[in-house]
């Protein structure tokens, strides 16, 4: 699996020189499988740039297909969809897997995003590509472009989101963004979901000092991410979903702190940066 980061920011895009190095686009990650298949995780503003890059491939000719894994439907995780050029090319095929309980409910949420009050597209029906929407239940496993994916529902403040355990040829990548734990720490079910992953991408929205007053928002501090990664015996931890107010220098300082905490335990820290790639 080759992972690429297209958007690593939380909550709202954060343009400006102070976010140039880590990037200001909201969540979007792509996985290229061993056989060249494409799996996309989350549809933040990074998705537009992934889509533009796909116009140099079979997606430009309407011969592309991809699976999309959606953690949840907050705006920062779906905003890129209407700006993803491959959905406007006839012949392309997409299967989106996400929360919502039923296919119909999930599709109606995405339909609400395209509501004419908010979007000139007015309806998903104006997509030219084939766009199939499939609701995933917590604990369910399914095949996405040859990868075995297991979804787990977790708390995200008052809402819920899905984390995805993704396996290919004995290698495991876990995507766990927008995760809020109780003060007692990550529950055993979460640790089991991350267990022995080669790479765990985990929400690190906050520093511990911000988390102290914002736990109700349903995000993790970098300390909590490291606690989870160590408990789950993972090899590499990817920091992700940086708060929109953090500058590159702030994130640099967070990475230094993360390495101080993680390195003595043999846990490698990989900071997610727009444009970076990572092979699992």
């Amino acid at each position: 699996m080759k992972i690429r980061f297209w958007g690593v920011r939380g909550s709202i895009p954060a343009p400006g020189p102070e976010t140039n190095r880590y990037g200001g686009n909201t969540a979007c990650v792509s996985i290229t499988t061993a056989t060249g298949g494409l799996v996309i995780i989350d549809m933040g503003t990074g998705l537009m740039h992934l889509g533009n890059s796909l116009l140099a491939s079979e997606f430009a000719r309407g011969q592309g297909r991809a699976s999309i894994l959606l953690s949840h439907t907050h705006w920062d995780h779906i905003q890129g969809l209407g700006f993803f050029p491959p959905v406007f090319i006839n012949g392309n095929q997409f299967t989106l897997w996400g929360p919502g309980g039923s296919d119909g409910v999930l599709e109606s949420i995405l339909e609400g995003q395209m509501d004419p009050n908010f979007s000139p597209l007015q309806t998903l029906k104006n997509f030219s590509a084939n766009f199939e929407v499939r609701a995933v239940r917590s604990g369910a496993s399914f095949d996405a472009e040859g990868l075995t994916v297991t979804a787990r529902e977790h708390d995200h403040g008052a809402a819920k989101a899905l984390s995805f355990r993704i396996e290919e040829h004995g290698k495991t990548f876990v995507y766990a963004s927008d995760v809020g734990y109780p003060e007692s720490g990550p529950p055993a079910e979460a640790i089991a979901h991350y267990a022995n992953a080669d790479v765990l991408l985990h929400d690190t929205t906050y520093r511990p000092e911000e988390q102290a007053t914002r736990r109700n928002r349903g995000f993790s501090s970098y300390e909590e991410a490291i606690t989870a990664a160590l408990a789950a015996n993972v090899k590499r931890l990817v920091t992700f979903h940086y708060d929109q107010d953090y500058t590159d220098d702030d994130v640099d300082a967070i990475i230094v702190k993360c390495r101080e905490l993680a390195t003595p335990h043999g846990l490698e820290i990989v900071p997610a940066r727009e444009g970076d790639e990572l092979v699992v």
Partner: protein
Amino acid sequence: MKVRFWGVRGSIPVPGRATNRYGGNTSCVEVRPRSGSPIIIDAGTGIRRLGKSLMDEAFGEGKGSAAILISHTHWDHVQGLPFFSPLYRAGNQVEIFARQRDLHLEAVFSQQHDAPYFPVPLSAMHARTGFHEIIEGSTFQIGDAQVTSARLNHPWIALAYRIEVDGASVVYCADTAPFTDLLLGQEFVHSPTMELTPAIRAELAAMRAGVVALARNADLLIYDTQFTPAEYTVRPHWGHSRPDDALEIAREAKVKQVALFHHAPMRSDDENDLILAQYRQVVIDAHDPFTIVSAYEGLEIMLGDT
């Protein structure tokens, strides 16, 4: 009055090195009368930073009041509202104005804030909010300022605004297509071809006349110039204009200054520089009596008595 640009981008925010100078935040312009509260036009992602700066003033103590004029509720023009800090502070007053539709304005904004799209419902905001539905062409007062609106040629319909205060006037004209090739409204226009019946031509002419009248003798005309002429040719149904259209309206309305605005998401700073240089030359060659700027984040323009 002072006019300050907090977001100048169209369609979707675009962080990155290519937009550092003009800025990647979507539409938000602050109009600050010499005395009195800010009048904010549009609530794109630029309003987040404006909100933070307002918290250094009376808003931080829960004693601020602001008006927000919304051109239309497409996502790039409202996305920042849930991140506007003054809304979360009790005692502040935020009045939101937008065009009347079938669905009540408050319901439209509630939809934006509701699960499953956002974690904090509008009803949980601590500030007092008021929703004011306006009809195109109407005139109303906000403090000492007089505000007039006009309909624009955009999918689902947008409004232009003129604000007059301190002996000066600013006109905000985004988002709009030119008034020549097709009429945009409630219907989804799938392809750029459309038959222009005499009735449609008349409606477009009336809309154009309304915009010229709104902009008449304005000190500053802020205009949607998302497209180059070549881009417009293939996307006339997207509801955006070219700099040529802005200059044409400016000439006819005898404005004093034009600001190119609502830059296309993939337009780099260098491309924006070239477009500005090109149209500056056009203005010089035509001996136009107005000046032209290209809006960038942080640009401040003082108008009238200051």
